[in-house]
């Protein structure tokens, strides 16, 4: 047996110690799996996240995926906890390394004294340092042996899942049920192989070898079966709940999984999602659905949004309701297709030609993807305008657990408005909000409306009158100022006054909150607000800013020529407050908690 346990001391590696003693109780564990994307690493992570949801545990995951079709290094990190889990974890407590390159690239992510379990069939050279405990497990050969030799290294991921289950005293029964659910669909052989690999991993005496065992405490919430899913799925569900029945899109990473799900789900609701020939057609079809009287969606990622901009400007001018999802990724251009960035905020707000006011929202975590989608649908209908939702690659793919939304209270049942319009109907009234008469509506006055992208008068007739253009610009602006007036300021988390206010938007919510927790534990007076409504902004931020010495806006975008990120630029422009400063970065990775604290400290001190 090639099993060994070392703790930086070569001597102990010769004699694996067997400990009958105690199991260490863990509140919290960060486990990183590093391998290649075709190894099914996401599958292990998905199972663990799902299990956590079933055990009333908090969970957050983080993964990197290569942008190649198959192959390439990939990781999946799972942060499991019995308390609040706000980030995927800065460093891992446990590392599962499947290959030498996985080991070499990720051993530094393990904290001092952490445990590295490596596949000794592939990993040969170890770095003995920082008190790291190395555990060799011949994962490939043991899995192949268990399955029967014909499966090559296919079962390695499920074998590793068995190891994890045993090591952390996880609920084996719940996990095998999940495995049966997932693999049962793929046929008996597949399920049998998966179970053989899982059992072999579970039976592997790993606990004996390292003399350690862990028990991840289950949460206290009784019977709270949580939903565990990723942000794109939560967004899809929110769109369906919000009343979307029609939409169109074009494939692009990381947006595609939303369109794929809508394509398969919508027929159940009597709706259609069209895969269009390009981004221009996608937004145009979506506007065709909107014009027809439906709540409609299109979406994409940065490059695709650039292509949609002309039609979005039309939507502002013609006053058509449309929900537009932008799953942001690293830019400019094709950029970093599978990395995270928040660099499309200005594009979301100002990306079209002309003065084209529109709404921009951003969800703060996976759960919020659901709620923000419901809200986007409502705003689009109520204000008859495009609503852009800026989610991002990190939210799109990471898994979190959350409670089921109160569906009966939230679901919008769409009804096609075909009420006849009276003689005084105007599609573009200057003294009221536009509510179009969809085609099929009888016009009692006998005059039918044309929805148009030319500047127009109240009846939709083209008008080059300078005064009319100014009035119509005001109409399109003022209705969204009404929206701004209806929004409340975000709640302050942490200290309501003090040294620093951290301002965030989008997927940085968790790490920022955890940073604030840690800084306050250290006796600092720190608060944070997280913006979900980015355009228009709610009114009155100055009353919050006034309570702090520093206002630091943390974003995943470039600091630009003037040292300010995109949201910081907007806040400066609105509040003319030089106290507002930026923490920015563009390394394509989510913020680590430590990173935020260090960068904020550097500004404050």
């Amino acid at each position: 047996m090639s099993v060994s346990a070392t703790s930086g001391d070569p001597e102990t590696s010769e004699s694996p110690s067997v400990s009958g003693e105690g199991i260490t109780e863990l509140q919290d564990a960060v486990i990183r799996f590093a391998g290649n994307s075709q190894d099914g690493i996401q599958t292990i992570g998905g199972f663990l996240a799902r299990l956590a949801g079933r055990s009333a545990r908090e969970v957050m995951t983080y993964m990197t995926i290569p942008s190649t079709i198959s192959g390439g290094p990939s990781i999946f990190q799972v942060h499991l906890g019995s308390g609040e889990v706000l980030s995927a974890g800065d460093e891992s407590d446990f590392l599962f390394a499947f290959y030498q390159h996985s080991y070499d690239n990720h051993i530094d992510s393990l904290k001092d004294g952490g445990i590295c379990i490596y596949d000794s069939d592939h990993v040969e050279e170890l770095k003995e340092e920082r008190g790291i405990i190395h555990v060799a497990v011949p994962m490939t050969s043991t899995a192949v042996e268990a399955i029967g030799g014909s499966a090559r290294d296919r079962g390695k991921n499920i074998f590793a899942l068995g190891l994890v289950t045993q090591l952390f005293s996880l609920n084996r029964e719940k996990l095998t049920t999940l495995i049966e659910k997932q693999f049962g669909r793929k046929g008996e052989d597949v399920l049998r192989n998966a179970m053989l690999a899982f059992d072999a991993g579970y039976a592997y005496p790993i606990g004996d070898v390292i003399g350690l065992g862990f028990d991840l405490k289950e949460g206290s919430e009784k019977g709270a079966d949580k939903i565990t899913t990723d942000g794109n799925t939560a967004m899809t569900m929110g769109l369906l709940a919000g009343g979307v029945r029609f939409g169109a899109g074009y494939p692009i990473t990381p947006w595609s999984t939303i369109m794929e799900q809508l394509r398969s789900e919508l027929p159940k609701y009597g709706g259609i999602f069209v895969q269009a020939e390009d981004e221009l057609a996608a937004v145009s079809m979506a506007l065709g659905f909107a014009y027809s009287g439906h709540t409609s969606v299109t979406g994409s990622s940065g490059p695709g949004l650039s292509l949609k901009m002309e039609a979005l400007s039309y939507a502002t001018m013609a006053e058509l309701p449309l929900v537009v999802i932008n799953v942001q990724r690293g830019g400019p251009s094709t950029g970093l297709p599978t990395s995270v960035e928040q660099s499309d905020l200005m594009q979301g707000i100002y990306g079209s030609h002309g003065d084209s006011p529109r709404v921009v929202l951003a969800p703060k975590n996976v759960e919020d993807c659901f709620y923000i989608a419901v809200e986007a649908c409502r705003i689009a209908r109520e204000y008859s305008c495009p609503v852009i939702v800026l989610t991002d690659q990190a939210l799109a793919t990471r898994i979190e657990a959350f409670s089921e939304p109160d569906l009966p209270a939230l679901v919008h049942e769409p009804v096609l408005d075909q009420d006849a319009r009276s003689e005084d109907f105007k599609p573009y009234p200057l003294d009221g909000r536009t509510k179009h008469a969809p085609p099929g509506t009888s016009m009692e006055g006998g005059t039918y409306p044309v929805v148009t992208g030319l500047e127009h008068d109240e009846w939709g007739h083209p008008s080059g009158n300078p005064e009319m253009h100014a009035k119509m610009n005001a109409k399109r602006r003022e209705k969204l100022k009404d929206l701004a007036n209806s929004l409340s300021l975000p709640d302050v988390y942490g200290d309501e006054a003090g040294e620093v206010l951290i301002v965030g938007w989008g997927s940085t919510w968790g790490p920022i909150r955890e940073s604030v927790n840690r800084m306050r534990e250290g006796g600092r007076k720190v608060g944070t607000i997280h913006l979900r409504h980015l355009n228009p902004l709610p009114n009155g931020f100055e009353s919050i800013f006034a309570n702090y010495d520093h206002v630091v806006v943390v974003e995943m975008n470039d600091e630009g020529f003037y040292g300010l990120g995109q949201l910081a630029t907007l806040l400066r422009a609105r509040y003319c407050d030089s106290k507002i400063v930026s923490v920015c970065k563009t390394d394509g990775l989510t913020y680590k908690v430590r990173e935020i604290i260090e960068r904020v400290d550097a500004i404050v001190s």
Partner: protein, 306 residues
Amino acid sequence: MSAPAEPKKLTKKDLTADHPTWCPGCGDFAVLAAFFKVLEKLQFPHEKICTIAGIGCSSRFPYFVNGHGVHFIHGRALPLATGVSLSRPDLHVFAFGGDGDGYSIGGNHLDHAARKNVNLTYVVMDNFVYGLTKKQTSPTSPKGFKSKTDPTGAIDQPINPMKKLVYGGASFVARTHATQVKHMMQVFERAILHPGFSVVEVLSECVVFYPGIFDDGNPRKGGEFDIIEEKVGDGSPEDEDRHDVTDGNAAYELASLQYPGKFGVFYQDRRPTKNELEQEWIDATKEKVGDASTTDLLSARFASMK
């Protein structure tokens, strides 16, 4: 009790909106007149008529028809019309445009609306020139045409719209001439009644920037308006030589004839529309999920994530 009121007949007067902004003598006036005549004949409910266009002289069409309408952006009339057609089977959807809008900036959409066989009627008023922007070369301008962007004569080969349409999979393809109103009306009517994607290419003269270009197809100007003789299926020897509109290769050959070529229906075939195919999927899915409410459907899906 009074008898229910007779539904009012839809007349040209009801359908007339703003006076067209086209130049006097523009071929598009005749297209509009023929469209009104056909609608008078077909008597669709007024509120169910929907006209959609992009950008260009001819794309001003929706302003001149008193019906629900959309004046959209350049080149994208067909995708918008696709959205309307797919989600509103109760409507009669018409798209209008010119050669620049349809064959150049919107060329890709034409291929895809055709292959998907979206149920709508598309009328292209082809004048071989960009008129609204004042005489630039268009995708159908013949070689040698002197325009502001080709001052010494166009050098690029023009596209052949009929070939593009037949090859692209449009299920109804016809060609007519704006000076031949009766023929235009016959073709429009057949196009409108065809289930699927029907396209009519109309040679419609720009009297300002390309006067006289279509005279070769106008008998009153000494040209020949050569109408396709379609098979009648009477088994006669003459019928052998007539055109079979369901024969794609024969349609492609007709499209290859020297200008001014032939007029009439090049191709017509009944194949399932995207509208029908999507509805089939919806029906099959609905059968499986029964009459589950939105909340039921969402709850069931959430349950699978627990």
